[in-house]
Amino acid sequence: MDMNVGLVGIGAGIGAGLAIIGGGGGISRLAAAAMEGMARQPEAAGDIKGTTIITAAFIEGVTLFAVVVCLMLALNTVQK
């Protein structure tokens, strides 16, 4: 029983880490592209900024879904 709880904890931790890797990669690519776009066309900076924040929120949202799943897994299992 104890080993299963430990395995779930490890799984939840690894899952949260993988979600962070994916989300971080996505947001960094997005930010790099947005900065390049703004540097090339400073007059479009406002539009690019708005779209960047919205897209970053989408990526962040998906990442947080994964983190919430990991959190529920860890808390529900360790409590019992």
Partner: protein, 377 residues
């Protein structure tokens, strides 16, 4: 043969201590072997006693506060419980005493002293309306009670503050009409309102369609923002982050869902609005694929809004809680110094997240409602 099996079984029981007692072995023992059977049973009892001791020590290690040193995971879970909504008071109405008013949200005797306490020494609150009714119905001669949670009070606090702020700003705007506006608070509010109207609603929906929806989205933006900001303040037991609760964010997303369909039906008529679900000019054989996908999209939109806001507001609090948990984990005051710095840094990030999440929730709602009002864009 039975002697051998009994000995083997008792050896196993001694060695493993967790193995189930071999019940079948004892009755088979014949009279000359009675002594060994007694010995075997004694050994079994010893094994069970050891097991019981082992289990007791395990229970003692897991029970919070039993030996004064809870484990770090218990501390973190105890801290985590503070993120969950808890009842702060209850409203009772009806009964033979014609009672209408507030009663304690915990089981209390006639003097008002709490009957039960949780592990922190606080009065243990009711968890459901049924528990509340079962406790108070006899005292008031019937009637019904409603539990009021800290997220309810936090929402009302945000709503009242919002009304007061907007009324003050409106009065100031009326008094200063025709002059240059003055006052810091007024300027801040005006710039946010203008940003929501011009850069969010009008750019997505256009002035013609968007004008009707500006009050809705302004209310949505400021209500979420105020709930987020009140969640960062310590307000005793009545405070709490209302938006770190799935029910609250789900309610806000449900408003968006209703407006997506009601404004679409109002703009295009009932049938035409539901026909807009499917892009025009598609061949008939893709309809079985497109219709389920669009139906799923209809549900996923508000669900994503719900979980995004909930997860963002919960995540910041969890990280701060995790840092505070480090103090208990290391059991030293010195660790409090870096923890304080990290907590303040995360807190500043949370302050930023409060604004960003209110902006994103409103902006996505505007996009969804705008797509429903004029789907060709």
């Amino acid at each position: 043969m039975s002697l051998l099996s009994a000995l083997l079984a008792s050896l196993f029981a001694l060695a493993l201590q967790h193995a189930p007692a071999p019940q079948a072995a004892a009755p088979q023992v014949a009279a000359p072997q009675a002594q060994s059977a007694v010995q075997h049973i004694e050994e079994q009892v010893e094994g069970l006693e050891d097991e019981a001791e082992h289990l007791e020590s395990q229970i003692a290690a897991h029970a919070p506060g039993h030996d004064g040193k809870p484990t770090s995971s218990q501390i973190f879970q105890g801290l985590f419980k503070h993120l969950e909504p808890h009842a702060v008071t209850a409203l009772w109405f009806g009964g033979s005493k014609k009672m209408f008013g507030l009663v304690p949200a915990y089981a209390a005797d006639t003097d008002g002293n709490a009957l039960h306490e949780d592990e922190h020494g606080n009065p243990a609150v009711f968890h459901s309306r049924a528990e509340l009714n079962a406790h108070y119905a006899a005292d008031f001669g019937g009637g019904q009670g409603i539990l009021i949670y800290n997220i309810n009070t936090a929402q009302w606090l945000a709503a009242i503050t919002l009304v007061i702020v907007v009324l003050l700003a409106a009065r100031s705007a009326r008094r200063q009409s025709g002059q240059a506006p003055r006052g810091t608070g007024y300027h801040i509010l005006e710039s946010i309102v203008l940003y929501v109207r011009d850069d969010m609603v009008y750019t997505v929906m256009g002035k013609h369609h968007g004008e009707r929806f500006v009050p809705l989205f302004l209310t949505q933006f400021f209500f979420i923002l105020f709930m987020n900001l009140f969640g960062l303040m310590y307000l005793g037991s009545i405070g709490g982050t209302a938006t770190a609760n799935l029910a609250v964010t789900g309610g806000m997303a449900l408003t968006t869902l209703l407006f997506i369909h009601f404004s679409g039906m109002r703009e295009h008529g009932f049938l035409h609005h539901w026909k807009n679900f499917v892009p025009a000019g598609l061949p008939w054989f893709v309809l079985p694929i497109i219709i389920p996908v669009e139906l799923m999209g209809m549900i996923v939109k508000p669900a994503a809004l719900t979980i995004r806001l909930f997860a963002n507001m919960t995540a910041g609090h969890l990280v701060v809680l995790g840092f505070f948990g480090l103090i208990y984990l290391f059991g030293s005051y010195a660790i409090g110094v870096p923890v304080l710095g990290m907590s303040i840094a995360i807190y500043c990030l949370e302050l930023f997240v409060c604004f960003v999440q209110a902006y994103i929730f409103t902006y996505l709602s505007i996009i969804f409602v705008g797509a429903s009002v004029h789907p060709e864009h």
